[in-house]
Symmetry: D2
Subunit: 349 residues, 4 copies
């Protein structure tokens, strides 16, 4: 099979370099274009010298015409608000687009505009985008041409919640998501609070009660529950590079449920889904288990003292939470095995 | 004023070395005895060489008679279940005892035995112990002879919850405590899961639904609320040395409450309490702010989307969560200013 | 091609789990046996739950007969001194053995006994062992049946020094190796000084002037130079999980040499060696570049102020410094491409 | 005694916040002015919220007239090249100045200009500056009005080397300094390579053969040796917040010297110097021992295999390597005990 030519736009960020790494190891893909504005003109190996023996490629200024001439598949890893200036053009010229920003994740453009403060005129295009969480929207991904890949927090949170919501097992207003992220989630741009000297050996909450990922999570929760769901979402910054741990709390409707019942329900829900692993009773995931892989690990407990279920999910925020998931979506859209070119085992420790 | 002679028993652990550090810097205390069983016979400076220029002292085998002959104040920093073999003797000989283990924190010996699996025959002694959380039990600490100092998780959780419970502002069954601890909370004994190679760059939950600090927290919550309170408590291990962050969620009874209202309530509650600082609106604490100090920082938010209050507290688990708090209790018991000999400002970063 | 059955003995340590990970991803190998004494009887997935979806295997007590019945290739990842009790048997029964301990690295059993304090009676077997540093002993590895794989410090140090010594460019008595290691080099056994609470945010030297890796380095330096060479070797413990950085200093004989000259010499020396990458001028390696790969990155500088060359090498201590190198040796011994089944690109950051 | 009014200029950086912390705890000093250009107009507690309960102070634009009106002692913690625009004015108006930049460390302005690329016209002022390393230049510090405080690398390196050079014990051309620094040495400004995501779990060398601290070190080595000395200096970035470890190698002239001899020489040299502690034989310092203190710990070994002495020094780069040393210089200049207001014991771990 001839390899499919692929472009990565926004190549110098962490999403970009993960995409490059995955594409170089993917049997059906060929990297033909790296684009970026701040890094245009630079050798990619000058930005990431560890790739110098594998990749000789200059970052090009972003130009939809050039991209469409070279690539059939385009991954966009850009700041929010930039993709809408490229996507209509790319689609018109026959490209398949996987966008890693928030721009094509929302069904309701009004919600997007409220939370992101960006005017949008491409509502018709956005309406056709598929939400790229394959465990929940697999059918829509087959042959999809525009995929809005979810953020890292929603991925971890929704995989923890989905079986509960789909089966109506918990009180709709009882969901608390206490999420913890490594600092790479904040990107590669220099920001004071992400300096090692600031962020190391310290944990803190941020965006309490008003983080942008809350409406994204609620949109999908609504799909799963078949009715609006409000969630409490609190992100935290953890002194580590990669990984998200989401600790999710909800009140069960039926106090007779046990941990074993719920594990069976979760195992059934995720059967045949290679990127989610439900752990044995009493085992809760460590984010490091997922480091460098596309896995999501889930552990859970039903607490009879409080009639709450606690579900804990762990992913690598840059893979299952970003670049890996985008490749997983591509695999599904093309009919390839879902695991193609994606790492399953971490180099623990 | 003649300095008061002080003993530290269990000196080689993290609680012990913090106590040593604090006593050396305290104007009214003199360190006269270091005890420990596993380290008996060793020069303390061989265990902690960085103290070698300040302290020349051999660790002695633990013997209540010897301790009582030398010291008026005794800090016990021992594994759970050991203190009851020493405390009745020490008290009988006139010592004042500050115990850092769980042994003298529980009013109900039955609850202690259930959770710690240790038989106790010193119920009469235990009944006289004061729970050493000065912001809540200050009056009882004056002239106290036996203080059971709280654990690090309860300290952070209870300081976050106290104003809400005392004033009955939240639904009793709605409290979720998602707590995050540095690895020094696990002590200095070599355990595989606390190795840097295991714990670094990874976060995980443990003891979900069944951690021993839950009944301790519920005992004090009951005191504050004047009725039984059940809490959800989930501890996490965070890749950092020191610090606890507790993120506490509760449903407010009156949906008209605002963040500003709650901040006023908290400021009033903690007025005149030098070791708690309520942060301005929109500011949430970082654990590193408390590093090396006896401070507890509190930030909060009322989320009108869910009618939940989220309170976030940060302490240094080895100071306000352990040794510092014990010295604070001693200060109060003796009528000294509460801040005597305790550090208020971290060496940030 | 039928896959070759492989045994890993000492599977529960860090060397072992890396080997398992690599074997699971190697196209020509099949993992048929996991052995270990302390973990015998345990499900491997109970020790490393992140592997539970890929591996169902109980760790067996170590028994050379059982191993030889099941496996053709045996990796030994055991404490020093244990392998000699197994290796003669394994070889006699036709196994090919790759030993990761120090036991088969020394040509002179006297030196081994001096530094390791272990009596040896298998001198004849040891004499046939090949030193498993493929960039220097590739020819001897072809069809080798017993390979003593080098330690992580010698690998990083020798790859930095080899071109200088082979060509006689530096004064024999001028070599200083200042090496820095992550804590996983100390293994997975619980030791106080490797606790996160102790090792994090601290760097220290150890074994100054008397580390066991010095005679191992000097043995190979002697081979390269054709005469005895003494080196100064100082290891340091760095607050990170993986990686070794060796900063090597030596006085050049010809003060006319330039950085560019030396880079050409290094590039020529390592041409065709896929696991060593000589970096461009002015670029010095970061250990994280090698994380999770079998690469060795080399950067160098000739300082005209002092007429010293400074060479800096970076590897992942558990891969190129341990398990990866063992698989590289296996690949060569079997005539497979040297890169088979080994990762080349890190998941930076 | 009335407290002396003190100004800190460049207050928002790491040097600045350490100075603020130390001044707040110093019995003879009163903080009266915080200056800074990038942070002018901000409440200091908005930059460092953990200080909000102790300090209510707005950062003012830098103006020598205003400073001189308010303060008798001025600490300058500014980027290189800024101080010369302030210092002559401040001195003229009677202020005593402690400069933490490189601007007043060099006796030879030509060397400064070569390495820093900054033209200087205040040679006459610079000529009167005292190099603020109290263990070597104590007499000159008494009543000094302008002190150029040394950088963190020179402090650690020179305290390790001083006894060897003063007594002529080592070959002048044999000195290699392999130094390792935490990332706070790079300051608080946002730089990509100092992000936690980049710098964590990685160690690397930089400025190999051409770091600005080399000529500074050589100037003082020349003073000590009484003749020019060339050193090899290689700095490394270590994944930790604070601390410098310098591993120093030199060839001894007299091969009969022993470790014990050298320890005696070091103890004699540093007798009566409260901020240097020579460790017992076989003990080498960990940087964490010095964390949060003004201590320098020294360990050493004479290696009879190579006739080299290896001296290892550890300091907190922001205290003994920066702000603490400046306060130590002030103490000496005013005739106060050298330890006044400076921390001696770390909050280990």
């Amino acid at each position: 099979m001839a390899k499919i030519p692929v472009a990565v736009v926004g190549a110098s960020g962490y999403g970009g370099v993960q995409l490059v790494r995955l594409i170089l190891g993917h049997p059906y893909l060929e990297l033909v274009y790296l684009g970026g504005d701040s890094s245009a003109g630079q050798e990619f190996a000058d930005i990431y010298p560890h790739l110098g023996h594998q990749l000789h490629c200059v970052v090009e200024p972003v130009d939809a015409q050039v991209i469409a001439r070279k690539a059939q598949v385009v991954f966009l890893s850009l700041p929010n608000g930039v993709a809408p200036g490229l996507v209509p053009d790319l689609l018109a010229q026959g490209c398949q687009v996987f966008d890693l920003s928030a721009d094509y994740r929302f069904r309701d453009m009004q919600i997007y505009q409220t939370w992101y403060g960006i005017e949008r005129t491409d509502g018709a295009v956005a309406a056709k985008a598929v939400y790229g969480l394959p465990e929940l929207y697999r059918e829509s991904l087959v042959n999809a041409t525009l995929v809005g890949c979810p953020g890292c927090y929603p991925t971890a949170s929704l995989l923890a919640l989905a079986p509960l919501l789909r089966q109506g097992l918990v009180a709709w207003d009882s969901i608390v998501i206490d999420a913890k992220s490594g600092t790479s989630g904040g990107g590669r741009q220099a920001k004071t609070h992400l300096l090692l000297a600031e962020a190391d050996n310290s944990i803190s909450a941020y965006g309490v009660g008003r983080h942008r990922h809350r409406p994204e999570i609620e949109q999908v929760c609504g799909d799963l529950a078949g009715q609006p769901v409000k969630v409490q979402f609190t992100p935290h910054l953890v002194p580590m590079v990669r990984g998200i741990l989401a600790t999710v709390y909800a009140q069960v409707r039926d106090p007779g449920l046990t941990t074993e019942d719920l594990l069976l329900i979760y195992q059934a829900f995720y059967r045949g889904k290679p990127w989610v692993r439900v752990l044995p009773p009493g085992v809760y995931p460590h984010t490091k288990w997922a480091w460098g892989t596309n896995m999501c690990y889930l552990g859970l407990e039903l607490d009879p003292h409080t009639d709450r279920v606690i579900v804990i999910s762990a992913i690598d925020n840059l893979l299952k939470g970003q670049a890996g998931q985008a490749v997983q979506c591509l695999n599904i859209s093309r009919g390839w095995p879902e695991t193609t070119g994606l790492p399953q085992l971490s180099f623990y420790p």
